[in-house]
Symmetry: C2
Subunit: 211 residues, 2 copies
DNA sequence: CAAAAATTGTTCAGAAATTGAACACTTTTT
DNA sequence: AAAAAGTGTTCAATTTCTGAACAATTTTTG
């Protein structure tokens, strides 16, 4: 059991629960919250070592802006002398997003579906890094106040869908990204994607990407 | 013309020339070398601002170890007080490689095929970052608004126009990754990918992934 | 503003890819 | 050593991809 205080932020309750289950077996204090708005208060009051932060919150937006926003809040606008380490987690392999995250102060980056061993290792490293950076002695004395997992709307039937790395998922995400890059220009996007415009169109229909 | 000394390292001469052609139009000094062994001597003698470093040297190896090796040489074992900024460049979106690169001191990460505007911008940023970090006298003089460092957050319409990977490239890379994860087990890999084993097999043939 | 150029939404038929099933082997587990 | 799982391959039905075409927008440009 590693002495560290972890805060998990993910609006998908199934994923949140899954992450919590994994981490509470490895770290002394693990708090899981689905509402990122609570981040500032929590890190101010709980001396969090590591925040595990999902990059994509609701509304179907998958561009990671939310994650970068909250990363900035934690790292640069928290008012803390020792802001927590932040490990970001996201569903699809957007390399630009990963690079931007780290350049803006993120400490590590994990993709779904995650490997539990790797997850624990990366969070441990992040906690250690923070301790070294701020020369903290050892575990913060705070008594255990653990398992404050608020189960707002927990549906057992919902399995963690985030663990799918199907080719079609990758395809859909990439198409969505390229469409965005092209400002919605199908002709340009199809060229970038290396497929015909007709095919792009039918894929968009299939994936529900028609605006 | 931006005052900065750029060193390009790429063993693919065609790519090297292409990069050189693009950058020499934007930076005052651009040196292109195909042999990474020359890196230590060059950065010692030439006061290089930015090294643009390919991650994959020869031998068909695509794991980026060479890039990380030379990154370490430049950043931690050069004996310089002010090591150059390092921008890494690689063929396909291995997010783990990108993350490792930045965690080990890389300043930015670019994928092929690159977008020239983005390339120049990122190298400019890296040069700027190095100047700021080491308080060098040479004031960069900011010729244009476009060359300024972007605001950390909320750079709205700017993020990555260069992520132009064809769908088939993405597919091939993902298949390769999943195959690796599955230890070469086609049946398992096909399930993870969400395609039939037959299809996976034919794709492997098409992409030259048959071991 | 209006002409020119580009893009869109759609259809069509041929080419190409995907699929599950089947089968004889080979490899791995138990 | 038997049982289970995986491999390489083929086959025919189904689905998807493709370039071409075309009228109706929308965007660019002079």
């Amino acid at each position: 059991m590693i002495q560290a205080r972890i805060l998990i932020i993910d609006d998908n309750v199934a994923v949140l629960k899954s992450l919590h289950l994994v981490l509470k077996g490895a770290f002394s204090t693990v708090v899981a919250v689905s509402d990122p708005q609570l981040i500032p208060a929590l890190i101010k009051e709980e001396n969090v070592d590591v925040v595990l932060l999902d990059m994509n919150f609701g509304r179907g937006k998958m561009d990671g802006k939310d994650g970068l926003f909250w990363l900035d809040r934690i790292k640069h606008r928290s008012g803390l002398d020792c802001p927590p380490a932040v490990v970001l987690i996201t569903a699809f392999g957007d390399i630009g997003l990963a690079v931007d995250s780290l350049k803006q102060g993120g400490d590590d980056f994990i993709q779904k579906p995650w490997d539990n061993t790797e997850l624990i290792q990366k969070i441990t490293e992040a906690a250690e890094k923070r301790r070294v950076a701020f020369s903290q002695p050892k575990a913060p004395a705070h008594p255990k106040e653990e398992d404050r997992l608020p189960h707002p709307i927990l549906k057992e039937g919902e399995t963690g869908k985030g663990n799918t790395a199907h080719l079609s998922d990758l395809e859909r995400e990439h198409i969505r990204k390229v469409l965005d890059e092209c400002g919605g220009n199908l002709t340009a996007a199809s060229k970038k994607l290396g497929i015909s415009r007709t095919t792009l169109y039918s894929k968009m229909k299939r994936y529900g990407l028609i605006p």
